[in-house]
Amino acid sequence: MSFSAPSMENGFSSPRNESFPAGLRVLVVDDDPTWLKILEKMLKKCSYEVTTCGLAREALKLLRERKDGYDIVISDVNMPDMDGFKLLEHVGLEMDLPVLMMSVDGETSRVMKGVQHGACDYLLKPIRMKELRNIWQHVFRKKIHEIRDIESHDSYDGIQISRNGSELSDDGHMFCGEDLAYVKKRKDFENKHDDIGDHSSTKKHRVVWSVDLHQKFVKAVNQIGFDSKYEVGPKKILDLMNVPWLTRENVASHLQKYRLYLSRLQKENDLKASLGGIKLSDLPSKDPAGSFGLQSSINGNQNDVPNGRYQFSGDNFFAQDVDSKNHEGDLKRVVSETKRTLTADLPDPQDMRTQMSFDHSFGSLDSEVNFAAIPAPYSWSKAPENQFKEEHKPLLQLEDGFSQLPPSGIHNHIQIDDPLQSASSITSGLSMTGREICGPEKIKPLYPQYSSNHMSILSPKESAFDSFPVQSKSQMVKHQSFEPISTAISSMKPQGFNLSCITDFESCQRNLISATDSTFEPFNEDLTVCWLEGDCHSMNFGLPNVEFTDYIDPGFIAEFPIYLCDTLTSDTECPFDPPEYSIVDQGLFLS
């Protein structure tokens, strides 16, 4: 693999500026070495700088190592270690780069899937030179949009995080020449300081959503959901994030991706759930990268989590499809999704990421994404980047409705046979537990996994089973953010979640709640055990102590299908069978 030569690193008058699209830095990902060879040659002929990669993971690693080291990514749909679409999502979320998909299969459904996942284009193999010659337009388009965003937004010139001649500047300035003329007035174009984020100045450079930034984002989202129960909009998020150089557009587009991501995770969870009792160990840690920041560590850890079934799908946050997230609609969706995700099995590693589901504010979700801001109470401590904000609030979100979380919600086995299949999402949420909660490096704080929240929720102290189903649902809905309670379950590494309510859900709850300040004590594996095993009853979600009351909109509860109850009862571990799903769904209701 050749790394792009730093012609652009020269900062000012870098040749790239003048000769765009020459020097475009392309990362090609394909497991077929023959194609890699050909594409490399073709791209070089276009005067692009090419880096090739045979594995999706490797590609993500490269991208993360050199944020802004690439302008565009071209990836095959079929990769052995990770689904190409997943990679696509990751890249979109974390790096906000244009991604082109390639495949020998041109079926409309596949193409559509690609587009849905955010692909800028879908190329059919065999790929011709002329197609590659034009890929720069995707990069250009993005830049233009960014600039326009800035322009219309009146972004702050803000603090320019100048990168001094970093590649960013080069990149950013690539074509801006004329287009940015108007931007110039904002900042002097010559600055070439390309800020890390988008600065209104000059050309708006693509914002690189670092882990920290994303964390802030997630935190803000949770907070909003938490407080207002609705109205999670880019503007508010932006305000909360308090990052001067960030613009509303940046946030808006990031938000959209996030939702997509969660939604996908949710789906995966659902899928997993439907698989029934996915054992943690089965979780393939295929996606180490953990979407959205949850690094793969989570996945890896999954295996350790004995019971880590509870997958709180952090994804729940995005659970809703990106489009339209109307809360109401989403809620329903979430509910259903939650159900599915209830399969507390650890959904595939990706799900782990999703565990960061946020609890959506149960309030009237309006069009804005209502991130049930159940702040992830725990701070994934380890998570390198404080992945989960320790807001333990999520638990709070549960409000009364949730108090009924099915006791054994956290069972990792949440084998929800029925609709709660969504357990998968739960699992995902849970899966986060083990590793995620521990905040291992992998988990990006993306979404404060509600797992902690859920935990508390789940660990109903009382066995309020009856209300359980419903509540769990609501919980799910609201919480969306299942935090990887499971994490607590399994690898409770001393991270964040201090689900050490080991055999006491209450303590768990406490922990969860207290987790808010990221003082999660490491979840004890015992915790999970208790969750799973039969201490479920304590898990009833009736988190009485959880101050969810504020957040939980009783209305939501109603939405939860009762089926949750069903599944719950089926859980053998716990008498209550807490609706695992609830956990999961929580994250989903992104609105």
Binding site: D32, T34, W35, K37, N78, V104, K125, P126, M129
Partner: protein, 150 residues
Amino acid sequence: MERNHLPRHLVLQRQSLFDQGLLDEQFIQLEELQDDANPNFVEEVVTSYYQNTSTLIVIIEQALGTSPLDFNKLDGYMYQLKGSSSSFGAKKVKADCTLFREYCKAGNVEGCMRTFQQLKKEYASLKRKLEAYFQLARQARVTGTASRPK
């Protein structure tokens, strides 16, 4: 080496590969990528292809030996082979892959078996023909450079 400088017999040989439907446009694309830096680019690609897919062929064959057939898996293998074959324009091999996948979708064991045999033959035959072609081309390049205008 520019095509128009190829000795006549080579030109004819090359053309016949196209006429027989063994190669398609993609091959030409690769030829156009050849330059001084990579004068044997197409040959390298084809060599890489045969190296990387030989195992796949064996795997598919083994999979076809099991019973019952796992059509999903077979389809997956063929998808890979098809993708690879498309890289340099192996038209017939690619068509056989597509046909095989159709049979997989239909769950037609007999069809799969038959098509695979056909594919194997095409795969091997193409290899021979291309090897011969490339060898001649290399020779022609060596002998022809002196007389070719630069």
